[in-house]
Symmetry: C3
Subunit: 148 residues, 3 copies
């Protein structure tokens, strides 16, 4: 009851049921909870916990030892649209992918939303329920909407 | 690994795995991501993207070309309760359904919650992580909790 | 298409598909929506509605007649980390479980995040999209981030 397509897994990776992973790279000992989707073109390091109900999109790079809480939504497009101005379905070439970096040992609280194109520093902490709109310095704690 | 009951689908609709749709109407070319539930008595137009982890409830009417981000929660009841005051399980007749309208070309950012009984105007944009408590004018951008 | 392990169910419990429940206790007549995870060491009372996309973790105790909206995230650890300071994967003994109590007849709006170690009082209401950081008195309504 899990769906893995073209996924590169390290050793001792634990992936729960009801998960949808494709084209991504997951490091040793990392755990991925139920109802998680991880898209192509993303990377999760070693010794991470990706908790249930979270979404990790293309262009998100998560280093080792990171905690991602439950229901955390990453993004990679600042102006997402379903269609272009002339009413055609938007294609990959119609938008700009913004990359997001989560550095070693960071912790992102449950229910947070992470705007695209930012870096969350080493051992930084994002409190639960936050909306992170800009980069977070290493070893600092932010929370709120917007997170400060 | 998807569950579709009494669903009316247009042409070229793409529905991912781990989805639960019932009694709803989905227009041509629309894509529905993993871990999405769409309830009876709702409608999604043509050329829409309904991203993973979102919940579209009864009474939500989404026009053509709308983008719904990941983990967006719609609502249809201002005062949801499990039981009535005398301790009985609430029935359909114990509450009032408030309808929500998402107009053509609107974009709702990931991680947003949409309060019931509002209209989000044509080409309006709701920033990621917002809580939308009142109607949004066409061609405007709102964000925050509450979104303004 | 549901996964139930070591679950104690009352009478007339209704559990939708795409659910992951283990080591928990669910009372009579309670309904559990799609894409819900309920962990070991938690309890849900009678006549509750646990709506789709919600996460109920260890140490959460929900009394009778409670409404939990869609996409509600509970937590049980104030300082979640994937690894300890010396880079080892965190074990159960490396953190302190904080218990959360949701009293009879309370209603938690969709898209809310509940910080750990608090009590939400009898018939209290938490508005949709809230981040609840401290206990809520009985018969009161709170909302916002942080909820007040």
């Amino acid at each position: 009851m899990k769906k893995l397509m073209d996924v590169t897994l390290g050793e001792n990776v634990l992936i729960y049921d009801f998960t949808n992973l494709y084209g991504c790279d997951i490091g040793d000992n990392t755990k991925v909870g139920a109802f998680v989707e991880i898209q192509k073109g993303s990377r999760v390091g070693k010794n991470c916990k990706i908790s249930s109900h979270s979404f990790i999109c293309e262009g998100v790079f998560i280093e080792d030892g990171v905690f991602i809480g439950h229901g955390v939504m990453f993004t990679n497009d600042k102006y997402p649209k379903s269609c272009t101005n002339d009413g055609q379905l938007a294609k990959q070439s119609d938008w700009t992918l913004l990359k997001t970096y989560i550095k070693k040992g960071a912790s992102i609280g449950s229910g947070s939303t992470i705007l695209p194109g930012i870096t969350i520093g080493e051992n930084a902490v994002v409190g639960a329920g936050s909306v992170v709109t800009k980069s977070v310095e290493a070893n600092t704690t932010v929370y709120g909407n917007p997170a400060t």
